[in-house]
């Protein structure tokens, strides 16, 4: 049970008319609340504009890039092609991703996810410049983090 909340502070009941009183408290609260809601809307709007990235498949990216071969701020999912992963001594990473037969090379420098390996699906985000994807982030989609299909054929028993 809640004890009287004001028990440890001076009770304010001596003041019948609080504040300047030009606006009703409800109206003032509405104003402050409105400011909060508008700030939320503003923050969402501004940051969507500043951070949202297109999410495309590899073929979509290639068709959007067209002849210029450039699309900025874009996110692409694809499968890491076997045998294309190269690590340079400086920690850089190059590989090729593929989807529906279309392929693009990716260069990346940064945190490589735990499960990065040939054949897994990755999502890269960054800029597509002159036919090469310069990734700023690299996410691995574990194809079966929670669910696994069984090996296609049971081992002979």
């Amino acid at each position: 049970m809640e004890a009287p909340a004001g028990s440890v502070r001076p009770l304010p009941d001596a003041e019948p008319e609080p504040g300047p009183g030009r606006f009703s408290p409800n109206l003032k609260l509405l104003g402050v609340g409105g400011v909060i809601l508008l700030s939320v809307a503003y923050l969402v709007y501004i940051n969507l504009g500043a951070t949202a990235a297109y999410y495309l498949t590899v073929p979509e990216l290639l068709s959007r890039a067209g002849a210029a071969g450039t699309v900025d701020r874009v996110r692409v999912a694809g499968w890491v092609v076997d045998g294309t992963i190269e690590r340079s001594a400086g920690g850089g990473l190059r590989f090729v991703i593929e989807e529906e037969g279309a392929r693009i090379p990716v260069v990346y420098r940064g945190v490589v996810p735990d499960i990065f390996a040939p054949g897994i699906q990755v999502v890269v985000e960054g800029d597509f410049r002159d036919g090469t994807f310069q990734a700023k982030t690299l996410l691995a989609k574990c194809p079966s983090r929670f669910e696994g299909g069984l090996p296609s054929q049971p081992q002979p028993n």
């Binding site: 408290p25 990235a53 999502v123």
Partner: protein, 661 residues
């Protein structure tokens, strides 16, 4: 076992349908109501049987059952067999239904007589939810589905899930989702019957606190698991699956604050109903997102057939919630006005707007790919920068309110008194900022954040200090007994302040690790040294060894500076999961600087060189410490009061509403 489990699920489905009908009939007929209550218990017993059957099948390696073969193997350590229970879709939904049946039976048992008018509808609503889950489990994703052949061995659980964190994180998170059903059922019953007095609020508060605690704990353990297992050096990544788990918790946090306004002033009734309905619907939404694969997530659950079913249920549940609120709209209109902007109820309302604002922004970002595709035909996504930049300022505002709010009185506060109270904490914050500036911290956001933390801590301290001083004068106790006495006399209030202290500690960790993290990847040959920040490490050599079912590759590293110590980050290759090795990450908390040295083995080459990712994560231990403190405070605040007359308080004893039937 499979037959037993399958039958138990079918019977549970039938019984849930019966309970729904009997409960509605039970409004006028005691016999039917009692039978529905017992039926609810029956569903709990049957589902306990089904869970036991699945667990037995897992433990006895019955690979004739698809779920067992897909989620466990002979080599799996026995302890992780338990995680297989909720590691797959069918199992996790069974766990959902089981937890719901247990909580429903418990809630109805506890409140059967005291809330007699509400109970028929509570049982009906809970049975309706059970009915949906049991339909899905029975006909769409049955955990007892047989395989055409008996396999010699199973595939095993994904190695990332074979971790102690997975023993507690999913069940807590799932239970958290489930728990919002109980307050929802009581709120719905109150709306249907029109009994909108304080009774439903009391019951709902208790269960909302439980849900809040359980889900909060689930979120924290999830962060802990990600930090120690995934290797990206963080504990929260704003991934869709994390976001949707945060949503009901945020809305629930708003509810457990704003319900106090209704208790005290009889205001915000409509708002409170809206919040609790939203929390439940967001729980269903969360389960839907996790299970449907509709959003691209690192968690990437398998695409499955349960998506449309969940979507339909979500639609029905949303429509019903809205219809109920609309139906009672005339009665829910606010009685009483806000008397001043400087009042506690106003502070609570603003806190609510911020919490709901954060939830809204997070939801918007999470479903933005779907929205943009629907509206513009192009899929747009947002990542962590969006959430950090939107929610950062809002969280700072919330933090400031956390400091100002408790110092305000109900109805109105004298501005002069409030300012006098705020002066000390504000100055303390400035002193702290000065000290931080002196040691070389210049980042405005971080300084602002630390100022807010110290300021709020000061106001909380003031609350405790005054209460203890009053009590010491009155009773003549020492400081510690007086403190315990103060907390014990009003656990709800002071427990809440302890939660606030925990949140402040977490904020310290979040600010530190967000703004001052160091990270770098090194590719090194044996004998080479490399350094990051104040740490110097030497890579000795690669090593390989095997455990049952696991091949390990590790890098032996000596930390040279500032202390000498050996580190062995390694990767674990489980049989059948060679493509997705798990990791052992070395996370060393370095006491004098309160930071984590986080060493992760990224890769290696045939020439014996290794690629090692090193993070220095300042203040991260505060996140875990703060979470523990918040949890403790939450339990303190939520623990039901004993029904004694020990307190000679002015609160009139509320007579138990005679049930009558």
């Amino acid at each position: 076992m499979a037959e037993f489990g399958r039958l138990a699920l079918l019977f549970a489905l039938g019984l849930a349908g019966y309970n729904l009908v009997a409960a509605v009939a039970g409004r006028r007929w005691d016999g039917a109501l009692t039978s529905a209550r017992n039926g609810l218990l029956g569903v709990a017993v049957l589902l306990t049987g089904a869970v036991a059957a699945l667990l037995t099948a897992l433990l006895t390696h019955d690979f004739s059952i698809r779920y067992v073969a897909e989620n466990s193997s002979l080599e799996m350590p026995r302890i992780f067999i338990f995680t297989a229970l909720w590691g797959g879709q069918a199992g996790s939904l069974l766990f959902w239904a089981w937890m719901l049946s247990a909580l429903a039976a418990l809630a109805v048992w506890l409140h059967f007589y005291a809330e007699a008018r509400l109970i028929p509808w509570v049982i009906a609503v809970l049975s309706g939810i059970q009915l949906f889950f049991l339909l899905v489990i029975n006909f769409l994703t049955n955990p007892f589905e047989k395989l055409p052949v008996v396999l010699p061995n199973g595939r095993g659980l994904n190695p990332l899930l074979q971790d102690p964190g997975m023993l507690v994180h999913p069940p807590l998170l799932l239970s958290g989702y489930v728990s919002w059903s109980i307050p929802f059922a009581f709120a719905a019953a109150a709306l249907i019957t029109g009994r909108l007095d304080r009774d439903w609020l009391q019951v709902t508060r208790a269960w909302a606190m439980l849900a809040w605690l359980v889900q909060g704990a689930g979120l924290v353990v999830g962060g802990w698991w990600a930090y120690h297992v995934l290797g990206w050096g963080g504990y929260w990544g704003w991934d869709p699956v994390e976001n949707v788990a945060l949503l009901p918790w945020l809305v629930g946090t708003a509810f457990i604050h704003s319900l106090m306004v209704q208790e005290r002033r009889g205001m915000l009734k409509l708002w409170n109903f809206g919040l609790i309905m939203a929390a439940f619907n967001l729980s269903i939404f969360g389960t839907f997102v996790v299970r449907s694969g509709v959003l691209t997530s690192v968690h990437s659950f398998a695409q499955s057939s349960v998506g449309p079913a969940f979507f339909t249920f979500l639609g029905i549940s949303l429509a019903a919630s809205a219809a109920l609120i609309f139906y009672r709209l005339p009665v829910l209109r606010t009685q009483g006005d806000f008397e001043s902007l400087l009042s506690r109820e106003a502070a609570f309302l603003l806190n609510n707007l911020l919490l709901v604002g954060i939830a809204f922004a997070t939801l918007w970002g999470t479903i933005f790919p779907l929205l943009s595709e629907a509206v513009r035909g192009e899929k747009l996504t947002v990542g962590p920068p969006f959430y950090n930049q939107v929610n950062g300022p809002l969280l700072l505002g919330l933090l400031l309110l956390m400091g100002v709010g408790p110092l305000m009185g109900w109805r109105r506060t004298r501005p002069a008194a409030l300012l006098r109270d705020l002066l000390g904490p504000a100055l303390a914050g400035l002193v702290a900022v000065g000290l931080l500036f002196a040691v070389g911290i210049r980042l405005t956001e971080a300084l602002l954040g630390f100022w807010a933390v110290v300021f709020v801590a000061g106001t909380v301290f003031l609350e405790f200090y005054r209460a203890v001083r009053v009590r010491r004068r009155a009773v003549g106790e020492g400081i510690i007994p007086a403190l315990i006495g103060v907390i014990g006399r009003n656990r709800r209030r002071y427990g809440g302040y302890i939660v606030h202290l925990g949140i402040l500690l977490m904020a310290v960790g979040v600010i530190g690790s967000n703004f001052f993290k160091l990270e770098r990847e090194f590719t090194v040959r044996p004998g080479e040294t490399f350094s990051l920040g104040r740490y110097t490490l030497r890579f000795e050599r690669l090593g390989e060894w095997t455990d049952p079912g696991v091949r390990n590759v590790g890098a032996l590293i000596t930390q040279v500076e500032p202390f000498e110590r050996e580190l062995l980050p390694h990767r674990k290759f489980y049989r059948n999961w060679e493509q997705t090795p798990a990791s052992h990450i070395e996370v060393v908390t370095v006491a004098p600087w309160l930071e984590d040295l986080y060493v992760f083995l990224t890769g290696w080459a045939a020439d014996g060189s290794a690629t090692i990712h090193v993070f220095v994560n300042p203040l991260v231990p505060f996140v875990w410490l703060g979470a523990a403190v918040a949890l403790f405070g939450g339990v303190l605040a939520a623990w039901p009061a004993r029904q004694t007359r020990a307190a000679p308080a002015a609160v009139p004893a509320r007579g138990v509403v005679a049930g009558g039937g």
